[in-house]
């Protein structure tokens, strides 16, 4: 077992434990803070996979924007759930069985396959390559623009839905 495997196992343990706390924590603000831990360890996984730009995007976008948005929404709706006794609904046992069965099935399927090993490649130019691929007409400029239009529509829609009506 070499050093990269040890680092991976530590990061994976942090990811799984904090993710489990996200879905089981009784206090919702604690759950949101554990969500930040999960997202951060996923960013560490991106660094291990040599995708540095995606690690930065993960921290800036997921932790900086989405997690903070969730915390703010929680503060705006705080009164609603604070005196509730149960955070899980009546079907939580069957949900646990479904999730465990899905994991066992997926893990068996993934283990049965022979995957290619890691090849050492020079990835120093991959950020330039990514930037060019997003704006080149013969590559991904259309999906990129569609994604930006989707974001604008989502923001306008969010303001229209959540805005105060007179």
């Amino acid at each position: 077992m070499d050093i990269s495997q040890i680092i991976f196992l530590i990061v994976a343990a942090v990811t799984i434990i904090s993710a489990a706390l996200v879905v089981t924590s009784r206090h919702l603000v604690h759950a949101a803070l554990w969500l930040i831990v999960t997202l951060f360890s996923v960013a560490v996984l991106f660094v291990l996979l040599e995708a540095g730009f995606l690690a930065v995007v993960q921290v800036v976008l997921y932790i900086g924007a989405i997690a903070v948005l969730i915390l703010i929404a929680m503060m705006l709706t705080r009164k609603a759930m604070s005196d509730e006794p149960a955070q899980a609904n009546s079907q939580w046992q069957i949900s646990l069985v479904v999730a465990a069965a899905a994991f066992i099935g997926l893990a068996g399927l993934l283990n049965a396959n022979a995957w290619p090993g890691l090849t050492t490649v020079d990835l120093s130019g991959s950020l330039t390559q990514l930037g060019m691929a997003l704006v080149r007409p013969d590559e991904f400029v259309l999906p990129f623009e569609v994604a930006s239009v989707l974001l604008i529509i989502a923001l306008v829609g969010a303001i229209a839905v959540a805005g105060e009506k007179k």
């Binding site: 879905v23 730009f53 989405i66 899980a88 997926l106 890691l118 390559q129």
Partner: protein, 102 residues
């Protein structure tokens, strides 16, 4: 060297934990947090496949960027809907949102 299957199994575990959160949580914001966990599992899969199968092509990372954009759109619209429902019905419990159910 970490085998590809470790990343895939970790992503599967994260996805299933998120699935449990979506199915079992009563608070709609907590349901949305489960969806975020599932999205992250998908992105781990995309990046791992990019690194192990075709690291010279950048397509895997481009897909991951698009999934990031979709996740941001989903979170903003979802939270706006929850805040709007909270204003009208004073509740964020997913079971109470049954206006369209018959």
């Amino acid at each position: 060297m970490v085998p590809l299957s470790w990343y895939l199994i970790l992503a599967a575990a994260l996805f299933c934990i998120g699935l449990y959160g979506v199915l079992a949580r009563r608070n709609a914001i907590a349901v949305l947090m489960g969806v975020e966990l599932m999205m992250n599992a998908v992105i781990i899969n995309l990046v791992a496949f990019w690194r192990y199968i075709q690291p010279t092509l950048i397509n895997g990372q481009v897909f991951a960027v698009v999934v990031f954009a979709v996740a941001a759109a989903e979170a903003s619209v979802g939270l706006a809907l929850i805040i709007s429902i909270y204003r009208r019905r004073n509740s964020v419990v997913a079971e109470d949102m049954n206006l369209l159910k018959w």
